[in-house]
């Protein structure tokens, strides 16, 4: 869940890049980290320890600066894609506000994509989250490999496999070359911020309007 710190006037949004192993999630983050203006992004981190065990995922904090007095921070995470890292993936998903599902366009990875999406749904369900209610975008990565004769799934197939039910925005990409990387990031960031603002800030405004006495009313009550 997004962290909205009203006392410090900060909004933190968590976006997770999810997908099968070797689909290019980390490459997405690396590309963003290296190509983005350094003023807007923090250091790319690998979270090291939890107890005496190492937890593996990447984290790239992005800072949008102050908007309406609020410091807006977006944290990009990746999960380890291999099936065996189920526990890590689930943990990284905790408190997620937006998801980029990075699908591998290679035809041989078709089943892995579907499996990973199912895994995502399952993991979200365990946190009582519905994939349909969360901001989600699809990224069909490695599109450039089609040029060298490697059989790729065409976008219609990918859409049919992964996006038939969800109907979320999808982007073709090549993370190594940066095509579609920022388009994906922009889309998910906007969706996530909108989601967070609508869900949390609107809720707060409503409670402010509907809620307890204001300072003046409290003072008046005290005087009377």
């Amino acid at each position: 869940m997004a962290l909205i710190d009203l006392s410090n006037r900060e909004v933190h949004c968590k976006i997770v890049y999810y997908g099968p192993g070797r689909c290019g999630k980390t490459t997405n983050l690396m590309y963003i980290y290296n190509a983005m203006n350094s003023a807007a992004r923090g250091k790319m981190l690998t979270i090291e320890t939890k107890g005496d065990r190492t937890l593996f995922f990447d984290l790239l904090p992005l800072n949008l600066g102050k908007i309406k007095g609020f410091d807006i921070k977006i944290q990009l995470y990746t999960v380890p894609g291999q099936t065996i890292y189920h526990a890590t993936r689930k943990l990284v998903l905790k408190g997620v506000d937006g998801i980029v599902f990075v699908a591998d366009s290679l035809r041989v990875r078709r089943a892995k994509n579907i499996e990973s999406l199912e895994d995502l749904k399952r993991n979200l369900k365990e946190y009582n989250l519905d994939i349909k209610s969360l901001p989600l975008v699809m990224q069909y990565n490695k599109r450039d490999l089609g040029k060298i004769g490697i059989p790729l799934l065409d976008t219609a197939e990918l859409e049919s496999d992964l996006n038939r039910e969800l109907r979320v925005p999808s982007f073709c990409a090549s993370a190594t070359k940066g095509y579609g990387v920022f388009e994906t990031l922009k889309a998910i960031s906007k969706m996530t911020v909108r989601y967070v603002a609508t869900k949390h800030l609107a809720g707060n405004q409503k409670s402010k309007k509907m809620g307890g006495p204001t300072r003046e009313r409290r003072q008046r009550q005290r005087l009377s």
Binding site: N37, R53, K68, D144, L145
Partner: protein, 548 residues
């Protein structure tokens, strides 16, 4: 961007629109780069950006096989020099994939090319091998297994569970018999050490040092690099040293900890031939022993064979002793010293066992066909009475006796390994436990157990003794006598198994008259009943206590 601090909550719609504008402004690449999928190296492509933008079109994604085969023909000459020229798409694309995936793709590409002209098919098939090293299937298998090992160790680093460790152990075991690995002595040593650490992890994960998982990871990465030709030998040696240290630490810790149900067997480190290095001399001795057992077994009496074994064992022990002395004076080889020390302890124990069989006159009647099995069966003297003419009814000349409820219990003196009142701090713990750790019998943490135990237990080193524990038997002879707070603990141990029980009083030594009658019982932990002129003694032995 406006700073509107006067307002607690901005209007969501306006707020969101403003954020979206900022996202559009900020989330744009400030430079054009490309990431090498193999090395993850970032290349600045600002100069080449125009050319590269032309070679990728999102809309051209349908795999039109013949056209692409033609394009591959064009690419092929570039690929031959790909290692010299960095930014070539085919190499990067293919190197981004798994080995197995590469094979799958290769097959798929071949499938496409079946329909295309022969020349085009050649061109289409060629690029895949050119991007991977021209290695045999064996090499692929090794690297795949090593890659799998690395992944498995990553998992262990995150979460240690028995199935995961077992899977990792399986991979390590398969690698140890891999021909390509066997040619690399450093890899074999490293894998053997990994196996030891994983074995310990499997048995007692809580004892594994915190640094072990990361070291395992380093080792797995080193191995993977070594077989890809990138690893430095010095790094490997250093890793082996570090792994060795971990193994040493683990062995030490395991020896200091109480172990499973079978005390003596499990307290001692396992010394199987697969995991322990054997010196040339030891191998020679083993070979010699093999020769004896095969050729002379049938013709020589079992006693002679046992005597030969005892002599050989003594010889081994002496050699190890001298080596041990040398190691004890050499700093930095504590692990090796401990290793030798453990071997010597085991050998001495075996020697003592064999000597007992030989000189107590219990192993002489072993049948020639199965000398070893027969001699093992004769470990406990109580099985002998029928065969010994001087004492047909009672094999025990002296027993330590106590009153236990309504019955008088007697224990063979040579099996009483410990007898005494436990330190007050441990009394209630022992009383409530199902097992007793010898460690608990120390009055102070720095006290030694060596002087407190007797008979077979006295042969063990302090470290081994500290790790031993014995099941506590309650209710002997069909009754459970009341145990006072300051009870006496008796531990019976026959060199292999042992058990403890609590009694209310200290045992006294009783001589058994020669004409006493001995009736075998074999139930309620009682081995036999001896009828002496004044009393009836129920004999409790290690065997009867540890019998299921």
């Amino acid at each position: 961007m406006k700073d509107d601090k006067g307002k607690d909550f901005p209007e969501p719609e306006i707020f969101t629109l403003e954020i979206e504008d900022t996202i559009d402004d900020l989330f744009t690449p400030s430079k054009q780069i490309e990431i090498d999928p193999l090395t993850q190296k970032v290349k600045d492509l600002e100069d080449e950006s125009d050319d590269l933008s032309l070679d990728f079109d999102f809309m051209e994604e349908k795999a039109a096989a013949p056209e692409e085969a033609v394009s591959l023909q064009e690419v092929e000459p570039i690929q031959e020099t790909e290692f010299a020229q960095e930014a070539q798409q085919p190499a990067e694309g293919l190197l981004d994939m798994d080995m197995d995936l590469e094979m799958e793709i290769e097959d798929a590409v071949q499938g496409i090319d079946e329909a295309a002209p022969a020349a085009q098919a050649d061109a289409a098939v060629q690029p895949a091998p050119s991007t991977s090293p021209p290695a045999s299937e064996l090499a692929d298998d090794t690297e795949n297994a090593l890659s799998e090992l690395r992944q498995q160790i990553f998992t262990i680093e995150w979460e240690v569970t028995s199935p995961q460790i077992q899977q990792t152990l399986d991979i390590v075991s398969s690698l140890l018999i891999n021909k390509r690995v066997m040619e690399n002595t450093m890899a074999v040593s490293m894998l053997a050490l990994l196996k030891k650490i994983l074995d310990s992890m499997k048995d007692r994960p809580e004892l594994v040092p915190a640094s072990a998982p990361s070291l395992l990871k380093k080792a797995s990465e080193y191995l993977l690099n070594a077989f890809s030709g990138y690893a430095a030998e010095s790094e490997g040696k250093q890793l082996i040293n570090e792994l060795d240290q971990i193994v040493g630490e683990l062995e030490k810790t395991v020896a200091m900890q109480p172990t499973g149900a079978a005390p003596a067997e499990e307290a001692l480190p396992k010394l199987d031939a697969e995991t322990r290095p054997a010196s040339a001399e030891a191998e020679e001795i083993l070979q010699k022993q093999d020769v004896i057992s095969e050729e002379e077994l049938k013709s020589r009496p079992a006693q002679d064979i046992l005597a030969t074994h005892v002599v050989e064992l003594k010889r081994c022990v002496k050699r190890i002793e001298s080596l041990e002395k040398l190691l004890s004076r050499t700093p930095g080889v504590e692990g090796l010293y401990k290793f030798q020390n453990e071997i010597r302890t085991i050998l001495e124990r075996q020697q003592a066992e064999l000597e007992r069989l030989l000189f107590e006159g219990t192993g002489t009647e072993a049948p020639a066909e199965e000398p070893v099995v027969a001699s093992e069966k004769k470990e406990t003297p109580q099985e002998q009475p029928a065969k010994e003419p001087p004492a047909p009814a009672c094999p025990w000349k002296k027993l330590l006796t106590i009153n236990y409820g309504d019955i008088e219990l007697g224990f063979p003196e040579d099996q009483v390994a410990y007898m005494g009142v436990p330190p007050w701090l441990s009394r209630s713990t022992i009383r409530a436990s199902a097992t007793v750790a010898l460690n608990r019998l120390k009055p102070w943490p720095w006290s030694k157990l060596k002087g407190r135990v007797q008979n077979k237990l006295s042969h063990f080193d302090e470290a081994v003794l500290s790790g031993m524990h014995f099941p506590i038997v309650r209710g002997i002879g069909g009754q459970e006598a009341p145990i006072p707070s300051s009870y006496t603990l008796v531990i019976l141990y026959d060199g292999k198994k042992g058990a403890a029980f609590m009694v209310a009083e200290s045992p006294i030594s009783v001589e058994i008259p020669e004409n006493s009658e001995c009736k075998k019982k074999g139930e309620d932990y009682i081995e036999a009943e001896i009828q002496t002129p004044g009393s009836r003694i129920s004999v409790v032995t290690t065997k009867s206590l540890t019998k299921e």
